[in-house]
Symmetry: C2
Subunit: 334 residues, 2 copies
């Protein structure tokens, strides 16, 4: 029983075409006619049907935000912060954001012409096959890294350089045995961070050993807390840790406390990304900052341009990262 254009046209004594014109602000309607139509629209409380419009215009007005599945990651402030950027970017446009968390939702969303474009959040190749992504024929921009040479434009932090800066900072503070807490290696992010860690360790003439690396199954802090504690006890030679995400760093701080290590007196900790929360916890987290909101905004801007049919020049936008010293890093004890 919703009122359609037909209803207002009938009541206003004009054609559907005229109604359509005033609604979409197209020229070619007389002042008087327009006024009449607007009145009737108000009276009838007319609400345009975007679906019908989309059918003829061949657009949905929706863009998909695809979040990696597995452990739910929206709790990870990294995602919510970038999401904030996306929301801000999209807010100036007429697009809605449709979220997708599971592979079921992804299929439903991406294979049913329900969206005009998609933003892929730190996609893992294991979960999102390139072939499938290309087959859906939608404009895609990825946030973070996907494949080493993906065909999609991407905007990402310079993780490798960020990790490098973190390691160098600890080195400057006198640390010579620097550990690394990393996420799962099926994430390109982890691969790049590890690369940055390893290269920097070696270029500073420290010894790289797998024993100094603790790999978590997910970018979640809960995961493997017991193991992490054990790792800390067994590797007491390590005086400082770099973590490939702030969230991981928070977990490390927790585990350190459990086994009686004081931060930063006994152990220095550096995160990665600088999510808003990191400056608000106690002790405030030393980390490597990157403009996460900017990344989200930029990604949405690129997608919008793609949607407008504009050619984009740069396939890859890299955001630089900068070390921020807060309260979890200190000079190494003798």
């Amino acid at each position: 029983m919703t009122v359609s254009m037909k209803d207002v046209a009938l009541k206003a004594g004009v054609s559907i075409a005229s109604v359509s014109r005033v609604i979409s602000g197209k020229p070619g309607v007389g002042k008087e006619t327009e006024k009449k139509i607007r009145e009737v629209m108000d009276e009838l409380d007319y609400r345009p049907n975007m679906g019908a419009r989309g059918l003829v215009m061949k657009s949905t007005g929706n863009i998909a935000i695809v979040i990696p599945r597995g452990t739910f990651t929206l709790n990870n402030p990294f995602f919510s912060t970038v999401l904030e950027g996306i929301a801000k970017g999209l807010d100036k446009t007429d697009y809605n954001m449709v979220m997708s968390f599971t592979s079921l939702q992804q299929k439903r969303l991406l294979e049913t012409q329900s969206v005009d474009g998609v933003i892929l959040f730190a996609p893992r190749y294991k979960e999102l096959k390139l072939e499938w992504l290309e087959s859906i024929g939608l404009p895609i921009v990825v946030i973070g890294s996907y494949l080493e040479d993906s065909p999609f434009p991407c905007v990402r932090p310079n993780d490798e350089m960020g990790t490098k800066k973190a390691v160098e900072e600890l080195y400057k503070l006198g640390h010579r045995n620097i550990g690394f807490i990393n996420g799962p290696m099926d994430s390109m992010h982890s691969v790049k961070c590890l690369r940055g860690y390893k290269n920097t360790i070696e270029s500073l003439n420290m010894e790289y050993t797998k024993n100094n690396v603790f790999e978590v199954g997910e970018f979640e802090i809960q995961a493997r807390n017991q193991d992490l504690e054990k790792f800390l006890i067994e590797n007491s030679r390590i005086t400082g840790f770099v973590c490939s995400s702030d969230y991981l760093a928070i977990g490390l701080i927790k585990a350190a406390g459990k086994v009686g290590l004081k931060i930063p007196e006994d152990l220095s900790v550096v995160g990665l990304d600088d999510v808003p929360l990191s400056s608000h916890i106690t002790p405030a987290l030393s980390t490597v900052h990157v403009d996460l909101i900017g990344i989200g905004k930029r990604a949405s801007a690129i997608l919008i341009n793609l949607l407008k049919g504009k050619q984009i020049r740069k396939k890859e936008i890299v955001f630089e990262m900068d070390f921020i010293s807060r309260d979890t890093t200190g000079i190494v004890k003798d």
Copy 2:
């Protein structure tokens, strides 16, 4: 140039009706015909158009998640946690979730027949008028409190009781001067928490005074940190604080550290809601737990029922809360 039913019908040498039937799993298609159609669909890489389907079925397959605007609140783990519950609940269904953060997005989403139903997150009357909500004629369920007697089904934590439990717990630990950190009073949540705080203070024969209440403009920790520090210094008689959200409690802990108060030795802090993060920070936050994921799931379940046309019996689902003692509460010093 996307392929439509017409294309597959043509190529398969059958009618559009038959194609439609096999796609929606309707009976009345011969085995052979179906096989042929499926083959052609594969061959042509056919993708159904949900928009077109929605037009005739009068449904969109989308449900709107409306988040309060103002300061972006997705960073608040309360929201992301409940959102996780909603996502889980919706995952079993065929609905997509469309997010809306700003009033612009809300209008666009809710006034254009773009969604079948809406979940309202802790709506504030100031921002979301009842009249407007009713005029859009969509099934609505609210999470948290809206108006004291809203017409929409709602699922919410028992905030009043939760605050009560927090105050009582501090009382048991010997605290006789208990402060309260609250969110903005235009949020029903704040109103109820304050009520719980005040009533409990009085029923325990302590003196209720506005001076012990610190009100933050938003449920954000960043806001007014300076003022909070000043407040702590000027009110050193207060030995324990209840906060109307964990996020606020984290901010309080930070401020306390800044002014040299040790937790829990000098000051006890209790949060509200028990977001996942609360157990992972250092010190782990004592708080009042509620099943946030359950709330999200329940809300989506109710909305789905509404969408199916089922009558719902209970207008209000209240989740009980339980105090959890962790590391931010202690016996009061003499």
